[in-house]
Symmetry: C2
Subunit: 351 residues, 2 copies
Amino acid sequence: MEIQIMFRTTLTAAVALATAIAGPALANDELREYANELFEPIPLSTPDLDGNMVTRQRVDLGAMLFFDPRMSRSGLFSCQSCHNVGTGGVDGLETSIGHGWQAGPRNSPTVFNAVFNIAQFWDGRAADLAEQAVGPVQAGVEMNNTPERVIDTLNSMQAYVDAFAEAFPGEDDPVTFDNFALAIEAFEATLTTPNSRFDQFLMGADTLDEQELAGLEAFIDQGCAACHAGVNMGGQDYYPFGLVERPGADVLPEGDRGRFAVTETAMDDYVFRAAPLRNIELTAPYFHSGVVWELEEAVAVMGVAQLGADLSEQEISDIAAFLRTLTGEIPEVVHPVLPPRTADTPLPEPM
Amino acid sequence: MEIQIMFRTTLTAAVALATAIAGPALANDELREYANELFEPIPLSTPDLDGNMVTRQRVDLGAMLFFDPRMSRSGLFSCQSCHNVGTGGVDGLETSIGHGWQAGPRNSPTVFNAVFNIAQFWDGRAADLAEQAVGPVQAGVEMNNTPERVIDTLNSMQAYVDAFAEAFPGEDDPVTFDNFALAIEAFEATLTTPNSRFDQFLMGADTLDEQELAGLEAFIDQGCAACHAGVNMGGQDYYPFGLVERPGADVLPEGDRGRFAVTETAMDDYVFRAAPLRNIELTAPYFHSGVVWELEEAVAVMGVAQLGADLSEQEISDIAAFLRTLTGEIPEVVHPVLPPRTADTPLPEPM
C-alpha cells in the first residue's frame, strides 16, 4: 500500500516536472538543476553499512568468499560466476546456469552499486546484501550448498579461521554463516562505480554531448525518471511490469509473478523492483526474464509497458545514448589467493 | 624412443646419486649441492618464449581472453574456470566440469609454471601453451566453441580489436585464432611462482627444517627425482604410470591409455608426462584421474607404482613435508575489465 502511494507521488512529481520542462530544449545548467533534483552521483568512497563494519579485514575476507568456488556444493560456482566483476557485475546470460546445468528463473542482477538498492533480488525479498548473499549459496538451482557444509569447509582451512577472527574481532565463534554473509556484504559494498560522465555532469562538468543531453531531457520528460531515480537510477521502489500495457509472455513470463511471491498480496502481482540503470550498457540482457539484448529495444519496451508512450526512434536513440553515460569507473579487483583445502575439507560433489 | 632413453639415463644417474648419498643424513650444504644438480629455482622474472613476445600489451590482452567466459559457447566458462589463479591454477575437481555439465576425462593441470613444461596436457599432445590454449576452447566437453565463433565474438567488440592491434603491431589482420593463443600464452608465462622455501634453500638460505631436509633426501634417495627434476620438479619427460606395479583401475582407469593416443606406439601405453610438483599442496586432487586427495597418499601410490618401494610412514610424511616447501609466491592478478558485448556479439548458447 505504502509502495503504491510512494509510486504515485513520485510519478505525479515527475509528470509535473515533465510538463514544466516541455517545449524547447533546456539550457545545460537548467537541465543540470532538474537532474540534480532527481538523481545523485555515486560517492567516490565506499558507503557505510547499517549493522556492518567495512574494515579492510572484512572486505578482504569477503573477497575470498566471493571468489571461492568451494562455497558451492559442486566446487564449480562462486558469487563471481553470476556476478562477474569483469563483465559489469553480471554473467551476461539470459538466466544464470547453476548446479547440474540448471537454468535459474531470473536474469542475475549486477553486484555493482547493489549496495545502493533499497532491497536485493528482482522482487526485493532480501533486505540487504548480507541477506542476499546466503540465498544463492543454498538455492538448489544455483550453488546448492548448506550453511553447515559452508561452515565445515571454512573451518577446515586455518587461513579462513584466522581471517574470520580478524574480521570479527572479539567474537568467541567468528566462523558463522551470518558472518560469512556480512563479510561478503562488506566486499560488495566496495564494488561501486563512481565518476561516470553523467555523475560528472551532475557535479557541474560539461561531459555530455548534445544527443546525450537530449536523451537525459527525454528520460525526465517521458517519465522514466519516475521509477529510475536516486543514486542508482532505480532500485528504490517496486512497480508492476506492464503498468500501462503488459508486455508479451516472452518478456514477462506468466509463471513469474514477481513480488507477489514475497508478499502474497494481489497488488504485488507482476511487481518487480525497478532495475537500477547504472552501467546499463554493460549488463545485457535486460529485464528479469533476460530476453532483450539491445538497450534500444529495452527502452522501447519500457516506453510502451510502463509509460504508454510510443517513443520515436530518435527519442529511443537519445535515451539509450544518455543511458550509456551512466557507465562509471569499474573497481579494480585483485583476484584473492584462496587457502588450500585440507583433509577435513568436504569434497566437491558435482554429481 | 628418445624419450625412453632419456628416462633410463636420468634414472641411472639418479640411482647412482641415491647410492652415493645412502647412509647417514647429509650435511645441509652437501644436500644442497646434490639438490642443485637435479633441481633449479624458478626465476624471479617472466621467462622468454620461443616464437612469442611477452609484451605488456600481449600479456594484458591474454589476461582478458583468459578470464572472458564469452570465449565459451555457453558464456559460462573461461580458462580461469578450470585453471583458477586463486586456487593453485587448478579447479580442485576430480575431473573438470564442462559444457552441459559434462565431466572431462582428466584432472585439470595447473597453469602455474606450466610455461616450464616440455609440452602441455597430461599426454604432452600440445607442444606449448599457445597450442594448449586452443584445445579446451574447442573441446565439446569443455568450452565447446569454434575458432570462427571466437573470432566473431572478438571482432564484435572494438576494445578487443584495438587490443589485438596493439599486441600484434604491424599485422594486417591481427584478430586471428593463432594470435588469440599467443596472447593467452604470454599471459600464462607470467603465472610463475618463484621464491618457494625450497628455491631459497637451493640458493643458499637455510629455509628448510629437519623433517623437510629428510624429505628432500628421501625424495632423491628413493628415486622420485629421476622423473620429478628440473625447474618444475617434473613436466619434462614421459613415463609409464605403473612402471613397476600398475595401480588399481580407480587411479589408472583402463580406458585412458595416455600418450598412446598421441603417438599410437605400444611403448607409450599408459604413459603420461611426469606431473610437475611445484605448489603441489595447492593442486589436489592428484594424478590424471584426480581420485587421490591427500598428498601423503599420492606419495605412497607413486612409491609402489613407479619405484617398487613400500615407503615407511615416516618417509612418506617427510617427503610430503618437503613437497610442501615447493609452494612459491602466487602471482598477483588484477581481474581484467572486459569490453561490453555489442549487437554483433554472438549470443551465449548454454543449451
